[in-house]
Symmetry: C2
Subunit: 239 residues, 2 copies
Amino acid sequence: MTLYIVGIGPGGRENMTLKAIETIKKCEVIVAYTPYLNYIEDLIEDKEIFSNGMRGEIERCKKAVEFAKSGKDTAIISTGDAGLYGMAGPIYELAEDIDIEVVPGVTAAFSAASELGAPIMHDCALISLSDLLTPWDLILKRIKMAGEGDFVIALYNPRSKGRPDNLKEALEVLHPFRDDATPVGIVRNSGRDDKTVKLVTFDTIPIEEIDMKTVLIIGNSKTYIKDHKMITPRGYENK
Amino acid sequence: MTLYIVGIGPGGRENMTLKAIETIKKCEVIVAYTPYLNYIEDLIEDKEIFSNGMRGEIERCKKAVEFAKSGKDTAIISTGDAGLYGMAGPIYELAEDIDIEVVPGVTAAFSAASELGAPIMHDCALISLSDLLTPWDLILKRIKMAGEGDFVIALYNPRSKGRPDNLKEALEVLHPFRDDATPVGIVRNSGRDDKTVKLVTFDTIPIEEIDMKTVLIIGNSKTYIKDHKMITPRGYENK
């Protein structure tokens, strides 16, 4: 049997791929972080479910592998893309002797970008500010390198109660490489009905308002605002 | 009327989002690079079509804006995600006084990643080696920064007849930051029926085989191979 690692996109049904939907429909068992069940409840009424809460990732992965080993097609659910900060890594690290298939999805940075205009367009760095599994110094080094390389930068997991100051510190490291007027897009609950979209500048980022459900997109040196949209031109020379 | 900038994902129908399909279905006019029409032909039989060839991007954008201005819901098609090296930027740069909506999609890096295992997982840099619109020195600087920051690196447009040596040069810049044994995934025609997937190491990249239809994913310092899959562990400390 196969263990499918399914990226369901940012949350709304419309941004799910056909394959994600069909894979969930055909599996016998669904394994998910409990709040994600809401996004797919109409697809899983007749299925065996294992779900749990925050920090339960590894237990979910182990359960999913067990279900697949016991002969049941199983889908383990990630939001966004399963291969970026999702479940594909832990599953491949853990699993032995089962078929595994990753179903890609729309990741939060691109969903947020679509709601902001065309802020990415060009070479970009995707960085998580969660230091739960990554040394904070390495994260800050990446921020610096992405700043120096004039990448558009998308920040995942920018701020939580447990680490309220990470974002502030990251922005301080980035400051030498970005004008105060650099456009910054802030999208909370991207792709969901209750999304909020805000456009600010580098020197006016409302740090206190930002939480784990938010993605920040920080422009490169060419990014500008036009008619309330954030635009990074495709050509570097012609702007 | 609305101009929709639609990312159809890597090519196969299964990786399109519901919204991309529904948007194409409801539009009166479709604007596309001619070869992309193949991916959606069954959806567009009754529609007005404008398509053209390579280097025709700006003409397509102008046409799409004209159609929308003339009162017709119009979809302009990008493969992958429309907001990364796609049509969202040029449209927003050109357009005035029309409604625009970007429909995000699965970009090639994540599609290729799903076919390789879990090679991205962590902070990553997406870089195009096309120097048509970007100074080559800036691209090389980004390669260096991404190398130094130990990002997983996805290379788009890695090599073409017009610039056969860009990839080689980029890899030389990256060399000081990557062990020879670093896993590298090479996926051609990701997400399509005729895809090919290859797993090599940094010192054995078959440069001559690589073309514009290929995406390369170069691991970070923790990436490893297990059972013919490329895996970047999620945790930095626990490996």
